[in-house]
């Protein structure tokens, strides 16, 4: 075992950190400029094999990118477009998928995978959305919920139930019958609720193999969950640093409040929560190539712990900041908001513990 970064990893982490910090400080940045920065640094191709036009990065490299993203409260659709939709496109065969992947790699198109539906909570496995064959190809009907970064120009990948099983369908922006309701998320990003009212798409828009798509999506989702864990680790790291700095500079009753033992121990507990989360995420990353049940149990355990740590670190950072923590203008609150959103993504602790227990628990999976 060895937890030190390789020389290449250190260079990647440095470059990404510099880019994200510069973007976070740039008052004039827009979504195009943001995405272009990702493209130029090679981040769009990072997780893909070289023969697909990528740079062959693995979950460890994604961890470095997402930690930096969390530290700087990134807003670009990297998780959705590259780590979810993009990696799914890379896994399924066929011309449609590889054309789509090219559009993603050259920065011209953005994608989003639409997992959740009304009233099925975090269980995306049996889509209520239906796809039926039509003369032209397929007709899709159903609703999708809370699709992060889905905007009017985003290409959607929609799971839908077909007679053959778990279908995956590429829907271009502006398809007739498609309506998006964009809503602000609590961390200042955009997510959409989507209605598919008899959306007509071409035969070729069906990608992958309905017998296998579910397993591929499960693997993609597990990877995305770990990306969220890494993002949360980055956000917690920065939020703890902000809090420690505040404790050292804010004076009350004639002393910096960081000299009060109760606040010192609270900060120590935040550190412990952060380091345990980091360790559990490292473990889950090491299990990404294990058989699906073991992989999923480790990932679910990592997300459950990350969620608990996020809630604790986030709320205690606000407590230690006092009133300042509640003001939107001060960064602590924005990190708390981001951690709250990350907690929610792909499932709360209860969901992930239930998944872990269904898989036989951590002890069995080793």
């Amino acid at each position: 075992m060895n937890f030190d970064l390789s020389e290449e990893q250190r260079m990647l982490a440095d470059a990404v950190g510099k880019l994200f910090e510069a973007q976070a400080e740039d008052a004039n940045v827009d979504s195009h400029k943001l995405w272009n920065g990702y493209l130029e640094l090679g981040l769009l191709g990072l997780p893909f094999a070289e023969e697909q036009g990528g740079f062959g990065g693995g979950q460890e490299e994604i961890m470095l990118v997402m930690e930096a993203y969390g530290r700087t409260l990134g807003t670009a659709p990297y998780l959705q477009s590259v780590l979810m939709a993009g990696r799914l496109l890379a896994l399924v065969d066929g011309g449609t998928a590889s054309d789509a992947l090219s559009g993603l790699l050259d920065g011209s198109q953005k994608y989003a995978l639409c997992l959740f539906e009304p009233d099925t909570r975090y269980r995306w496995h049996e889509p209520g959305t239906k796809a039926e064959r039509s003369d032209a190809g397929w007709t899709l009907s159903g609703e999708k919920r809370a699709v992060l970064n889905a905007e009017t120009d985003t290409h959607l990948i929609c799971p839908a139930t077909t007679p053959e099983g778990f279908g995956l369908f590429l829907i271009p922006p502006g398809a007739s019958g498609l309506s998006l309701r964009e809503r602000p998320t609590p961390d200042g990003r955009i997510a959409a609720d989507i209605v598919l009212d008899g959306v007509e798409i071409a035969e070729a828009a069906a990608i992958g193999d309905p017998a296998n798509n579910g397993a591929l999506v499960a693997k993609i989702v597990d990877g995305a969950i770990l990306a969220c864990c890494s993002e949360a680790i980055g956000a917690m790291e920065k939020l703890l640093a902000l809090t420690v700095e505040y404790l050292g500079t804010r004076n009350q009753f004639g002393a910096p409040i960081g000299s009060f033992q109760v606040l010192q121990h609270r900060a120590a507990d935040m550190l412990i929560a952060l380091e345990q989360t980091r360790s559990m995420t490292i473990h889950a990353i090491s299990m990404m190539d294990a058989p699906p049940t073991q992989r999923h149990v480790a990932v679910a355990a990592a997300k459950a712990l990350t969620n608990r740590a996020s809630r604790f670190v986030g709320s205690q950072a606000i407590q230690l900041h006092g009133g300042m923590g509640l003001a939107s203008e001060y960064p602590a609150g924005r990190y708390f908001q981001r951690l709250t959103v990350l907690e929610n993504m792909f499932g709360d602790s209860n969901h992930h513990l239930t998944e872990m227990e269904k898989g036989g628990g951590l002890a069995a999976a080793l």
């Binding site: 959740f116 009304p118 009233d119 099925t120 909570r121 975090y122 269980r123 919920r145 809370a146 992060l148 309701r181 809503r183 602000p184 998320t185 609590p186 997510a191 959409a192 609720d193 004076n251 009350q252 009753f253 000299s259 009060f260 033992q261 109760v262 606040l263 809630r311 709320s315 606000i318 407590q319 006092g322 009133g323 923590g325 509640l326 003001a327 939107s328 203008e329 609150g333 924005r334 708390f336 908001q337 709250t340 959103v341 929610n344 993504m345 709360d348 209860n350 969901h351 513990l353 239930t354």
Partner: protein, 401 residues
């Protein structure tokens, strides 16, 4: 011992509930239930309905609109107000400036302020906190210098709730530099229409606009607006701490929030079947129910001995503050967790929008409630300060930190 409510107390509760449900409009109550921001006119309408029945300021002296009800009855009243989603009487008026004016003000001040304050014809906000005086309130710096018949006020207040809706502000100001920082502080009433006052919103992480900074730049305040004696403002502020304790536990508010948690959890899906039947969710709810029921009795234990003329602040009130805030926060977490993935698109307010309800749907405010609930363990003496009080004043532990 009389561990249950008396017949008279039960009758009083029924009367209050009947009055509230018949007189406060459904749209106001629905808005409070959903924890959405309340338009100013609804707050005023509601308080005037309460005031008509003696429910707005029952703890005030009878000659100024109070009722001679026991602390237990007043606790029942505030619990019913909260639980039935009725807006509480504005605390700055009813619980803060009113009692101080009634106890320490001149007859002229009482005649001028008390009736409109009780009826919310005059809306007060509170100018205590300052940027560098949080929990250490007495280190405040806003100065009021006497110049003939006026005070010249300069300085800054912060975290001033609803200053943007208020007509007046009551302030602690420094009228003299003394050896002890608690000395030389005075209690001043200031008309917000006076030139030199600037109100700047502080957007908060719940997405709403509640609080403000208030700047005073050579503001001239008539000396007749000084309450009580110059230099005794700290005593008056401390006097308030020993006053109305009937609402400290936020019992009715937590009950209302848990009612909503139950309603949402019945209607929404959990890991399998309705969320309310999910073992983990149900268990967290059970603990919240237990802590809340226990706190309801703790609240009654505190107030039922408050009639005692020996009086003074019961240090057990710190338990009400601590547990009351923790239960509200637990209930807010449960509320958030009912939404599942849809929390992301429940919508989120823009605190600088002018519209009070900001076009939010019924679930939007769940997220706001979650974020804003962090404040209950911070403001009004943080939970850390409350635990210091318990350790020192109740348990008698050493005074070092």
């Amino acid at each position: 011992m009389e561990l249950t409510f008396t017949e008279g107390e039960r009758r009083f509760r029924a009367e209050v509930r009947e009055y509230l449900l018949s007189n406060i409009s459904e749209n106001i109550r629905q808005s409070v239930y959903e924890e959405r921001p309340l338009p100013r006119e609804w707050q005023v309408e509601s308080q005037q309905i309460l005031n008509r029945a003696g429910y707005a300021v029952p703890h005030w002296p009878v000659e100024w609109g109070g009722r001679d009800w026991s602390a237990v009855k007043r606790t029942i009243l505030v619990q019913e107000i909260d639980q039935n989603s009725v807006p509480r009487p504005l605390p700055f008026n009813a619980a803060l400036v009113g009692p101080v004016v009634a106890a320490f003000g001149t007859e002229e001040q009482k005649r001028r302020f008390l009736a409109p304050v009780a009826n919310l014809d005059m809306w007060f906000c509170q100018g205590f906190s300052e940027p560098n005086a949080g929990s250490d309130l007495a280190s405040l710096k806003t100065s009021a210098v006497r110049e003939g018949a006026h005070y010249q006020v300069n300085g800054q207040k912060i975290w001033t709730t609803a200053a943007h809706k208020a007509d007046w502000i009551f302030c602690l100001v420094r009228t003299a530099q003394c050896e002890r920082k608690q000395q030389g502080i005075s209690f001043l009433l200031i008309d917000l229409a006076t030139p030199g006052i600037t109100i700047r919103p502080i957007p908060t992480i719940d997405g709403f606009h509640h609080v403000n900074e208030v700047y005073f730049d050579d503001v001239r305040v008539p000396a007749e607006n000084l309450v009580g004696e110059e230099g005794r403002g700290w005593d008056y502020a401390k006097y308030l701490l020993g006053q109305e304790r009937t609402s400290l536990g936020n019992i009715g508010f937590s009950q209302r929030r848990l009612d909503r948690v139950r309603a949402l959890a019945k209607a929404r899906r959990g890991e399998a079947g309705p969320l309310i039947d999910d073992p983990d969710f149900r268990r967290r709810l059970s603990w919240a129910e237990i802590e809340l029921k226990a706190l309801e009795i703790t609240q009654m234990r505190v107030v039922a001995s408050a009639g005692n003329p020996a009086g003074g602040a019961d240090p057990k009130t710190s338990i009400l503050k601590i547990k009351g805030s923790e239960i509200l926060q637990d209930a807010a977490e449960l509320l958030l967790d009912t939404l599942g993935p849809e929390a992301l698109t429940a919508g989120f307010a823009d605190s600088l929008a002018s519209d009070d309800s900001q076009g939010l749907d019924a679930h939007s405010s769940v997220l706001s409630a979650y974020f804003t609930s962090r404040k209950y363990s911070i403001f009004g003496g943080s939970n850390e300060i409350q635990r210091n009080i318990l350790a020192k004043a109740v348990l008698g532990l050493g005074s070092k930190r």
